[in-house]
């Protein structure tokens, strides 16, 4: 038994390095997607202190809007143009969504306890599920991968005495995610709005007193999270279909947040990669010992074990409590 747990998986890894690389790569790709969802959470949590449960459904909603708009537009404008027109319009929709949420939900609820705001995002989730389904229908849709000029197909690599299959799309996803994080970092660091965002994240009161409009910042931050959701929706939709089942997988972003810390953008990325890789490795090498399917909870257990030693996460701010 002990041999099966502690030695045999590593022997397998050493014997078949190509399988190891393949598993690692799959974990990495899953991790990138978790990280993207977590990124949306972190952005909103930092700026408004709202734990946004609706991030998962925003991903689905953005994806659905894109595909739905494309289906409406493409007959009259042609495929390539239609796809990009739909993309622009979806960005517009996400802005309207952010503005509406700020206006209708957040503004009346300002200064309420965290759990109330958390609950309000549940309300948003329900609303978006119903709204999205009644407009675009509940059936899964195919993401318009080619029309958005994303690469498809796979690359076979012959390394380490075996074959490793890598989807081109996954590479694109990793690159785009990297670019987006870099872009966000630059935006936060060097622009006027970015500096205001960081100020709000540090202290609402202090930010207000130097003349930063909290309402504007919240619209911007929810809009940014909407863009992140759109990118996530495209990437995830391209791998499988765009459907509402995706919103449950978005819960996986929670252990990612715990690992990385609720307030850290790099933490979300690193946490996502750790969870993604840990999950796939665990499933592949240790899963068969207990009958498989451990992917569904392994991430939470990793996060739980981690919490016992570092409650504030990898990069989170240290929690200091005063009476």
């Amino acid at each position: 038994m002990l041999y099966n747990i502690f030695i045999d998986p590593f022997v397998q890894m050493a014997q078949m390095p190509d399988l190891l690389v393949q598993t690692l790569w799959e974990g990495l790709v899953a991790g990138v997607l978790y990280a993207l969802i977590a990124l949306g959470f972190v952005l909103i949590f930092k700026a408004s202190g709202v734990f946004n449960f609706a991030q998962g459904i925003m991903v689905v909603f953005a994806g659905l809007t894109l595909v739905g708009l494309y289906e409406k537009l493409s007959p009259s404008t042609g495929q390539g143009l239609g796809a990009f027109l739909a993309l622009v319009l979806t960005i517009g929709v996400m802005f309207v969504l952010a503005w509406t949420i700020e206006r209708v939900v957040l503004r009346p609820l300002v200064n309420q306890p965290d759990i109330i705001l958390f609950m309000a995002t549940f309300g948003i989730t329900f609303f978006l599920i119903g709204f999205g389904e009644s407009i675009f229908g509940g059936s899964p849709k195919k993401m318009i991968t080619e029309q958005l000029l994303l690469p498809t197909g796979a690359i076979d690599l012959n390394i380490l005495g075996g074959r490793v299959i890598i989807q081109k799309l996954d590479i694109a996803a990793a690159v785009i995610a990297g670019l987006m994080v870099a872009g966000l970092a630059l935006f936060f660091q060097y622009t006027r709005i970015g500096r205001a965002l960081r100020a709000v994240a540090d202290s609402h009161k202090a930010a207000l007193s130097v003349g930063i409009s909290l309402n504007q910042i919240w619209v911007i931050v929810w809009f940014t999270a909407g863009i992140v959701a759109l990118v996530t929706g495209i990437m995830w939709g391209a791998r499988s279909d765009v459907s509402f089942g995706l919103s449950v997988i978005a819960l996986k972003a929670l252990p990612v947040l715990i690992l990385g810390g609720f307030t850290s953008v790099p933490g979300a990325i690193v946490g996502g990669l750790i969870i993604g890789i840990g999950e796939k490795m665990g499933e592949f090498y240790w899963g068969p010992l207990v009958g498989g399917g451990i992917e569904s909870w392994l991430a939470y257990i990793i996060a739980l074990a981690f919490l016992l030693f570092r409650p504030q996460g990898l990069f989170g701010d240290k929690i200091i409590e005063r009476i």
Partner: protein
């Protein structure tokens, strides 16, 4: 007019500290309970089976979660799993010892759930808030995995579902296919009334005050001599006990077996959490109000609107249910963030002053 407390003098401390110090409240509650027990005389089996039974099950689970989240301030997303533990424990026990009355096993299954709850409550000493919510999510997914992967739990049946056997009380079938909705409803109602009464006394006493002290500020509570570990674990134990019993009655008195492994999923946990937040955190009444609202609105949209002549199809009804529940949640949070229970107590206060508010 009727709601006056003038002339009701309290002469002892006990009378002053009573759960319902105002006579009208006691009479009102008595009437409600009486009406609840007499309800089967006036309504159809369909109404009892699809509206009242689930409502009571959700209320019981919501009370359980409210003890943990509302009174102790520990956010839990594992309610569905703890309910599942209760359901499966009750199933295994009543299969293993068929001669013992099933009601005893329904209560006993709560203890199994409490044990699991304590286990997953251990991290609560170090973490709180949303971090704890994720820790309890681990409970949810691990236990969900268990009921799929461990065939012993469902007695190796090929479909993976469990069948509730017929069990009797005074020779009347209360569980299983022979039990009528009315009998199941009456048994369930008795259980819910008793457990609500126990809960209302727990939260008023020493234990409840310890919980509330921990909720309001745990460091200060610790300095005052309240042991955080014991108190938090006790809250987890009692809360999971209630959830376990709720799960057992859900399986035995409502579902009657079938797709057990899908019933206790993450959505159930979320629904119970919505119920107590909408109903009111830290108020037992809130559990009932929240369960009523979130359970009745979908039913109303599904059956009520077509009956009123509004043409609404099955799929559209579902979409509108989502939209309306979403808007209701946001509406109630904006109108009264402390939930329906607070709304009710404000109304009560107004009634006392009426017609001369100052």
């Amino acid at each position: 007019m009727l709601y006056r407390e003038a002339g009701q003098f309290k002469t002892t401390y006990e009378a002053d500290m009573a759960v319902f110090p105002i006579r009208q409240d006691r009479i009102g509650l008595g009437l409600i309970i009486l009406a609840a027990f007499l309800l089967p005389l006036f309504s159809s089996d369909f109404f009892i089976g699809t509206v009242m039974v689930p409502f009571l099950v959700f209320s019981l689970a919501a009370i359980g979660l409210n003890l943990l989240t509302g009174y102790t301030g520990l956010l839990s997303l594992g309610t569905g799993a703890f309910m599942g533990v209760g359901a499966y424990a009750c199933y295994k026990l009543t299969i293993a010892f068929p001669e013992v009355n099933v009601l005893i096993w329904i209560v006993a299954s709560g203890f199994f759930s409490a044990a699991v709850g304590v286990l997953f409550g251990l991290p609560s000493l170090r973490i709180k808030g949303f971090y704890l919510a994720v820790a309890t999510l681990a409970a949810q997914f691990v236990l969900e995995w268990c009921v799929v992967r461990i065939p012993w739990l469902y007695n190796y049946s090929s479909s993976g579902s469990i069948d509730v056997p017929t069990r009797t009380l005074f020779d009347i079938a209360i569980t299983g296919p022979q039990a009528t909705p009315t009998t199941r409803y009456l048994v369930l109602l008795s259980i819910v009334v008793i457990f609500t009464w126990i809960a209302s006394n727990i939260v008023r006493g020493r234990i409840g005050r310890m919980w509330m002290a921990i909720r309001d500020m745990d460091i200060a509570a610790e300095l005052m001599g309240i042991r955080p570990l014991q108190t938090k674990l006790l809250a987890f134990a009692v809360s999971s006990f209630y959830c376990g019993v709720a799960g057992a009655v859900m399986m035995f008195l409502w579902y009657g077996g079938g797709e057990a492994k899908d019933a206790f999923n993450i959505n159930l946990s979320f629904n119970i959490l919505f119920m107590i937040i909408i109903g009111g955190l830290g108020a037992l009444l809130g559990a009932f109000l929240g369960a009523g609202l979130l359970h009745l609105v979908p039913i109303f949209l599904k059956f009520g609107l077509p009956a009123l002549g509004v043409p609404i199809g099955g799929e559209t009804a579902e979409h509108w249910t989502h939209i309306i529940i979403g808007m209701l949640i946001i509406f109630f949070l904006i109108v009264e963030p402390h939930g329906l229970a607070r709304l009710w107590s404000i109304t009560k206060q107004k009634l006392r002053m009426w017609p001369f508010p100052y």
